[in-house]
Amino acid sequence: MSTKYLHVHKLRRVYVWEKPVRIYHWLNVVVLLALIITGFYIGNPLAQLSTKEASDRYTMGWFRYVHFVAAYIFFFNFLFRIYWGFVGNKYANWRQFVPFSKKFYKEMWYVIRMDILMLKGREHMSIGHNAMAGFTYFLTFLAFLVQCLTGFGLYAAMSTWWFPKLFAWVPSLFGGDIITRQIHHWAMWFFILFAIVHVYLVFYHDYVEGRGEMSSMGGGWKFIEEEVFERNHHQTPNPTKDTK
């Protein structure tokens, strides 16, 4: 009887995305969508046809308001995620993102060969995100930083609170508000393009790996092949952290 099931993978349930990471992720998705939609509107507001007086409406005002509220949430959520990069589990650790070792680069190259050049080989190797994904998130974090700096730099002039004022130096760094705004606007496109590719790749991995990638950001669980588990168990990048 035992031979009967041998060709089927043995899967192990791994708790990769802790609840704080999941909450962070989905909050991030929501506020980013809000920021992109309102950002688009701020950048190029629609023509309104109505006979109402200006004093009876506040369309642009509302879009900006939502943008700024979302911006604050986005910023603190981001700060929280950086914090969690130091205290969270192995898959949330900052080392997953920053290309600091030779191994990291090797893995990135491997992913490029497998997923982009579509060469054949051993498919399932990582448990959390692969090195390439990690690196992309690292770039994303840099873009978050650019967006927060330019955004709050612009916001400094509109605010009387000390916090945004901390960023007042930013526009002078770039040579004024005009160019800062342009950078802020251009950077938005990075998020849009990232989101498309990112969501596609989540589907892709789910499809070619069959490990429940799609739902992992929901429940936190991924299903890892016993072989992969074994391999990772014996050579983990950060052995001090738990590896269950």
Partner: protein
Amino acid sequence: MNDASVKQPTYYEEVERKGYSRRDFMKFVSMMTAFIGLENSAIGDVAKALETKPRLPVIWLHFQECTCCSESFIRSSHPIVADILLDKISLDYTETLMAASGVQAEQAMKNTMTKYKGQYILCVEGSVPMAADGVYCMIGGKTSLQILEEAAEGAAAIIAWGSCASNGCVQAAKPNPTAATPIHKLVKGKPVIKVPGCPPIGEVMAGVIVHYLTFGRIPELDKLGRPKAFYSKRVHDSCYRRPFYDAGLFVESFDDENAKKGYCLYKVGCKGPSTYNACGVMKWNNGTSYPIQSGHPCIGCSEENYWDNGRLYERASSFAGFGIEATADNIGKAALAATGVAVAAHAIATNVRKKKLIFELEKEGQKSEKELES
């Protein structure tokens, strides 16, 4: 008729001489005080300063410029120019207005530089061309850099008038063929007050000078070296069209119905939201109007690099080398389409190239399914 060393009258003496009463004088002082944003309690100080100081010697240099800063300066209404020239400062050198020419003009500048060493204010209108050893601006056979360095040496402070002197303005726009350079990049060890604008508002120019006269020190500057009194707010923050902006009501095209109603000019390229200047509050030509009030968007004339930060009538700037219509959004949309195509292609390729893998996964699943039934 060179300068004789007679006792110099103070502002108060001059005002008195002109037939104004002490009350008029105090009125002027309190207006000036309010104007430069001081508490009422400072009125005493201002009055005292004006009563006891001799006329401030000023050397005003002209380099790569269009003289509109000088023109704007003579448009000042409070204080008026005649009073500034006769009563407040001693404008000892300015090519635009001085009676003497040639060697006599150069001599007049030298006299002030020696007699008032360390005391005179150096005003600079225009940028300094640094390419080709400075030959793109020469006066009296010397380069503008040579003249600037000599005159800066004994100056108490330097005022960089207008966008030319404070950021290079139009001649520094790409490709900046003469390497036009703003003043603060060339003089070291002296306070440089930047008064950007193309030109700055006349009363702002007069206000900067009056501030120095009154307090004997330069006004408080922001991070970019501009007097906070006039450059700490965006045009947008004091724009009377702001309610239309907040309401989302915009001029869609010049001379449309919305333009007649005075809606916000944001969508026809207004740079007011990114421009620090006093236009909305002080307005131009003694409060007559300002660009936005006349129906034209702000072009951001007091901002660094404004010539290269995008076209006048577009919100989004174009990308150098992509043609004037290649805005960020157009490029973004193209990138979006490209990404869409790439994703689709990748999805198809996946199904082809990784057919075996997917097939195995499916088989594994089907097998399990069967085995469950069995």
